[in-house]
Symmetry: C2
Subunit: 360 residues, 2 copies
C-alpha cells in the first residue's frame, strides 16, 4: 500500500502547482492503522509546508503513524521552522519519501535528521514522475536558473503567420485557454517587444477564476515600448517588468511611474544577454518562465540552449507562404536535428498540442 498512499500524496501536491513558489509544491498523507488521518499540500510561500498541514490535521493520531511525502522534508529554518522537527515531535514512526530534495540546504540532511530520531525512513519512489512534477523547482535548484518552456503556435504546414503577417488566430479558443492556464502556473511570461508593438499583447492570465498572475516580462534592449500599449497601461494591475540595455532616462522614469519595474542587462549588439536575463530571474527567486517569443527571440533562446520544454500548438489550417520558424536556427543536416523526449500529444478540439523535452 506504500505506493498507493505515496501516489495520493503526489496528487495532493498538484493542488499547489504554481501557488507556492519559490517553494516546491509537495503533497503529504498520514496513515494510521490503514486509515488516512491527515493530508496536506504546500501552502503559499511563508505558510505551512505539506507535512505541517497533514500533521495539524492528524493531531494525536500521528503517534506511531506513517507519513507519505513526495519530497524530502526540510530540516532548516526558512520562512517556516523545519518540517523534520515537527515530524519528530508528532511521534510519527515511519516516513516514506518520494525523492530526495537536491537543495543543498536539505539534500539527505532531512532524511538523516529523521533517522537520527529513530524514525524508519524509506525513499526513492516514483522518481520519474515526481522529477517531472517538480521540473521547475529542480531546474532552479540544480541549474541555478528558471525552467524555460518555449511555446509556439503553427499551422499544420509549420507557419507561424500568413505571408502578410496575419496570425490571429492560428490557435482555436480551446488552445488559447490552455495557454492562459499555463501562464497561471509559471512565475514569468516572457516576450519580445514585437508582441507588444504588433499584437498589443497583455500577457496576463484571462478567463480563469482565481488564477495567479505571472510576472509579465518584456525584453526591450532600447526601451522602445510604447507608453500607450496595453502592457504598460495595465502595469499597476498586473506585475510587469522590462529588461533593457540602454535607455533614455526620461523614458525610464515614465515607465517606472506607470508601475513597471526596470532591469538593466548586458547586451551583445542589439540582443540582451540571455544568460544574464536568466541570472536576474534566478536572483529574483523565479523558477519558471514561459516564452511567448516571436521567431527571432525564439531562435536566440534555442541557440543559447535555454529551452527545457516545448509546447507546440498546431492550429487547424494550411497557410503556405514562407513564414516558418527557425530559418536561422538551422540544423543543416538531418543528423543534427534536435529530438524531443517524453513526447505527449493532446487534442484541443481540432487543434493539437505536442509537448516534449528537447535533447539539446
Amino acid at each position: 500500500m506504500d505506493k498507493y498512499y505515496l501516489k495520493l500524496a503526489i496528487h495532493a501536491a498538484e493542488r499547489s502547482r504554481g501557488k507556492c513558489s519559490p517553494n516546491p509544491f509537495v503533497g503529504a498523507v498520514i496513515v494510521k492503522d490503514g486509515k488516512i488521518v491527515g493530508e496536506g499540500n504546500t501552502q503559499p510561500y511563508g505558510y505551512d509546508h505539506a507535512e505541517m498541514v497533514a500533521i495539524k490535521q492528524a493531531k494525536d493520531q500521528c503517534r506511531g503513524a506513517t507519513l507519505y511525502v513526495s519530497l524530502e522534508p526540510c530540516c532548516h529554518y526558512g520562512k517556516t521552522p523545519p518540517c523534520t522537527d515537527a515530524i519528530i515531535q508528532a511521534g510519527l514512526a515511519r516516513v516514506v519519501i518520494g525523492i530526495m530534495d537536491p537543495n543543498p540546504l536539505v539534500s539527505g540532511k532531512g532524511i538523516k535528521a529523521l533517522k537520527d530520531a529513530g524514525i524508519e525512513v524509506e525513499y526513492g519512489y516514483f522518481e520519474r514522475e515526481i522529477t517531472e512534477q517538480l521540473e521547475y523547482y529542480l531546474c532552479y535548484i540544480k541549474q541555478h536558473r528558471p525552467f524555460v518552456i518555449w511555446k509556439c503556435a503553427q499551422s499544420l504546414d509549420g507557419k507561424y503567420a500568413a505571408s502578410d503577417g496575419s496570425s490571429q488566430w492560428i490557435s482555436n479558443p480551446a488552445a488559447r485557454k490552455y495557454v492562459h492556464k499555463v501562464r497561471s502556473q509559471v512565475e514569468v511570461v516572457l516576450a519580445g517587444l514585437k508582441s507588444v508593438s504588433e499584437d498589443d499583447a497583455m500577457l496576463n492570465v484571462r478567463g480563469l477564476r482565481q488564477a495567479k498572475q505571472p510576472l509579465r516580462l518584456i525584453l526591450d534592449p532600447f526601451l522602445e515600448i510604447s507608453l500607450s500599449s496595453r502592457f504598460v497601461a495595465s502595469a499597476k494591475e498586473y506585475p510587469a517588468m522590462i529588461m533593457y540595455h540602454q535607455a533614455d532616462p526620461a523614458k525610464c522614469e515614465a515607465l517606472k511611474a506607470a508601475g513597471i519595474e526596470l532591469k538593466q542587462i548586458k547586451a551583445y549588439k542589439d540582443e540582451l544577454d540571455l544568460q544574464e536575463v536568466m541570472a536576474a530571474l534566478f536572483e529574483m527567486k523565479l523558477y519558471s518562465v514561459l516564452l511567448e517569443t516571436g521567431n527571432r527571440l525564439s531562435e536566440a533562446f534555442w541557440k543559447a540552449g535555454l529551452v527545457d520544454k516545448c509546447m507546440i500548438f498546431y492550429g487547424n489550417m494550411i497557410l503556405g507562404g514562407d513564414k516558418s520558424l527557425f530559418r536561422n536556427f538551422d540544423r543543416h543536416n538531418i543528423d543534427h536535428a534536435i529530438h524531443l523526449e517524453r513526447i505527449k500529444v493532446k487534442r484541443l478540439q481540432d487543434n493539437i498540442l505536442v509537448t516534449g523535452y528537447p535533447l539539446l
Copy 2:
C-alpha cells in the same frame, strides 16, 4: 437490433478494403430468428459480392430472414449477376441497407427491384460512417476521378528536409510502416521524378504479408527517368507506369521493354495537366491515389484542388532552415487559410499522424 447487425456488416466490409476494386468493399450479414446465419464481404473483382457470400453461407435459412448490407445491392449485370436477383430468389423477407449506391447503374434501382418483389426494404443508416468508409469509391462514382490522398512527412517545425536536402528519415519506422499499409490500400501511388532521381524510391509495398501492390505511377513530363533506377528495374515485379508529355521514342521503347506502361498526357509548360492525369486514371477504373509528391508537385495538386484527404506525419525532430512546404501555395492572409474537417490524430510511437479532409 437493426443497427447492431448493420454495424457488423460495416465491420465485415473492412476485410475487403483495398482488395476488390473497382467494386466498393461492402459487408453483409443475414439474421434469422435472432441468429446470424450468414456473413460476407466483397470478394476480389469478378468474384462474389458480399450479399452473395452471405446468401451462400446461409443457404435455406435465407427464407424469411433479414439481410443487412452496408451499400445498396446491385441490380445490373457486371462481372457477376445482379445481387437483387439472388436476394429475391433466396426468399429473404427484409433488407436493411446502410446507404444508397450513387452509381447510376444502381442508385435506387436496387431498392426498387427488391420492393417490387415484395421485400420489405429500409435504408439510410450510419450514412456518415459508410460515406467515409467508401470515400474512394464514392469520389470515383460521383466526381469521375480517383480519390486523392496527399501525404507528407515534416519535422515538428514544419520542414520537409534539412537545409542540405537530407530527409531520411524524418519519419520513424512505425510511421514508414504505416505508409506501406496505406500504399497497400490504394490503387495508385503517385510521385514526381525527383522521388526516383533523388531518393531512388521504389514506391511499392514492403514489410507487409500478402499485401496488394498498387500501381506505381511517376509523372515525368520529358521522360527523364534513369533506366538504372530501382523503379525501372523492378517494373516486371511491381506494376509501374509513367505519364509523360514529350519523349525520345528510343527511351519509350527501352522503358516499355523494361515492363513500364507509358501514357502521354497534355502539359502546360513543364507540368503535366493534372486534370488529364486524373481522367486517365478514371479511364483505367482506378479509384484511389496516394500522392507521395515532393513540395513542387504537391503545390500543383493543391492548386488544382485535387486533394481530398491529407495525411501529415510529424517526425520527432526540429530541423530549422527554410525547407518548409507550400512557399508557392501561399494563402497570403489567415482568412484564406485552408481548414481540415474531421481531424484525427494518431500516435506512432514518438511520431504523430494528423489526418483530415481539406475544405477546398
